[in-house]
Symmetry: none
Subunit: 207 residues, 4 copies
DNA sequence: GGGTAATCGAGACGGTACGTCTTGTCTTAGG
DNA sequence: CCTAAGACAAGACGTACCGTCTCGATTACCC
């Protein structure tokens, strides 16, 4: 028994748009984790089967629905100074993070992705990868320009730079803030070691 | 009408232990998001009411259940060298992160916390705060010992250092790895700026 | 292992009274079939065990509770005329039957007895038997007085006379009514055969 | 907000049959009062919602389930002699009453009806009314044929004639028996007054 | 009158069933 | 053949009671 996949050409665009629109609306109204296929179908005037036919999982609907409203900055400016450019891009990113509606939706998605491998994959592919690749390209140019050490893995660098924002966003110790951008860049570029003076390790006499 | 809370003195410790143990087992067997009160009660030989009596929500059961199995390193060694100590502690942390069972449970909890404010709060208070405060204390000593810049916010430092691991853990681009510890420390302490040579900014003509 | 039965001498009369009183109250307030041991104990300020200690089943509590409020006429008048006496007694009985509270309680009890053999037995022994034996005694005297055929089983007679009221009470085609008493007695004593005229059976051709 | 009732045309007949069949089976196996929606759904391989969708209450399921197995005689023979016909019909009825399985189900239903007004109504409409109307028609013909007094209410007669069987059935003093039919008819048609001899009321001095 | 044993109120316990909700599949009509 | 509609099997939800059990705290009897 072969199950033929649905033919995309026959897809009803009206239904598709209605589904995505309603998903976004309900996400705001009832909260991300209470979003149900049932509710979307009912409000959108669409059969549940129509949703199941075109999206592989609930997470996928939500991802696409919200993907259409998530517009994170992707491209980097290139002023010639990598720190300036990173600062600009990160401020844009954090500026999104701190919008309450965005924060709710984005953390909800990442949360759901923790128990939905496919959603996690799609979320990363469509929501994070582009930005991290853009960052990578910018950092490579910075290395060429001798604005960045060449003995570090750029992936490690990206994770370090952006991890701090996700830490706050997801662990909720305190919300991300635009000022964090400067702190992160200051630490990451200048390093944590005491700057000017010679450092004399203290004598420890423990215990 | 006042509803009196149950009297903890009358609590059946056998049941409590069984519930937490079974919750941990099922979390590994069927996955975090499929954990059900029903399933726990059945396997633990316990009435559902006994669970509802002592825990306010499903998240709370899961949190406590898993809290008992999450044994992340808290205290820092203090060898006199802050980098050495951070490396040791972080390796312990990442060593836990990469255990498949731990990863499943921990990411599941953090995921659930994204749509459960109380769970998020408890999770942070009991699961993250102690470690970040221990880190803070170690970093303060490092500042006293002139091993660390004093012009940075230690909270920012902690978020930067640990954020990288959470980034990988939760965004799932690639799993955390022990080697990441050295990379993070190398970047964070030495800084990203090119080390020895003079840097001559390139002339950009683009755009 | 011998389980000694509870010692009635030590029974707390206050509790007993409270239980029965509350059972009666709740029966009126929430209805017979929603009466719960839990509810009685709570309202009466009594431990559930105290109820279970002294009554073998839920039906038994209800029976005793309601037995205290069911006061059907037992003894027969004896005016010398059996029909007069039956009429008086039956009117008293039906007068109870049509009281809404009594009807609710009594039909509830009989209903519950249909799936509780012990309750059925106790209900009959305490609630019906006395009256049917009193009726039997009156009917025996009527036979001695030549007011009643002697070639009939008095048990059959009693069932016939009272069955009509229970029919209405339990099948609920229409509620029992005092006028029914006269109709029943008229039919039962005079018989259904046409009275004065000779009867000539019709010639049937049907079927 | 209008809740549209389910559309009977879409009903799954397989499920309906399975539910009714299993209800009948379980009623015999575990007893009427232990019949549970949960148990029926499980054994019938049916979702509980499917039961709740089509039947308004537990009593309704039981009623329909058992209605399919209750086949009491309805139509009366008409031999020309009303007593003969009543005897035949009543013997058929009592013959059912004394079947243990029927007795269990029927008394269970009537018992449940005592605390479920709707069930009581349906039970009477579907289970009793037809027979009493058939009886009424036969009795009307008997009046036309001068085999029955015309100065009595036929409803009263029916209640009297059948009440005796329900009395035994529900009050459980003793089970109904076929011999009861003859006794009832003898009493009801011939009357309770002493037959041949003149009756001389005794002189009572009491009161 | 003091000791002791049973009863008391309270309520936690393991369970069963309730009636509701949601999930993902299946079925039916209509276009 | 896709669509809207919605019935279906499955099963978790949180609640209500069941009847048993364990607590201290009276309470009533016996010494």
């Amino acid at each position: 028994m072969v199950v033929s996949p649905p033919d995309p050409a026959r897809r009803n665009e009206r239904s598709r748009q209605a589904i995505l629109r309603v998903a976004r609306e309900l996400c705001v109204e009832v909260g991300f984790h209470k979003l149900s296929i049932e509710g979307i179908a009912a409000r959108a005037g669409v059969g549940k089967q129509t949703i199941y036919r075109w999206w592989p999982s609930k997470g996928a609907v939500r991802l696409e629905a919200l993907g259409t409203s998530i517009q994170l900055p992707v491209e980097f400016p290139d002023s010639g100074d990598v720190i300036t450019d990173l600062r600009a891009q990160m401020r844009g990113l954090v500026g999104q993070f701190i919008r309450p509606d965005f924060m709710a939706l984005y953390t909800g998605l990442i949360g759901a992705a923790q128990s939905d491998a496919e959603l996690a994959h799609t979320l990363f592919e469509h929501g994070v990868k582009m930005r991290s690749e853009a960052a990578r390209r910018r950092l490579e140019r910075a290395q060429e320009d001798h604005q960045l050490r060449t003995d570090v893995s750029l992936d490690d660098v990206i994770e370090l730079l952006y991890g701090a924002f996700y830490y706050r966003l997801l662990l909720r110790n305190r919300p991300p803030a635009v000022e964090q951008v400067d702190a992160v860049l200051a630490i990451a570029f200048e390093g944590l070691q005491p700057r000017p003076v010679a450092r004399k390790p203290r004598r420890r006499s423990r215990r």
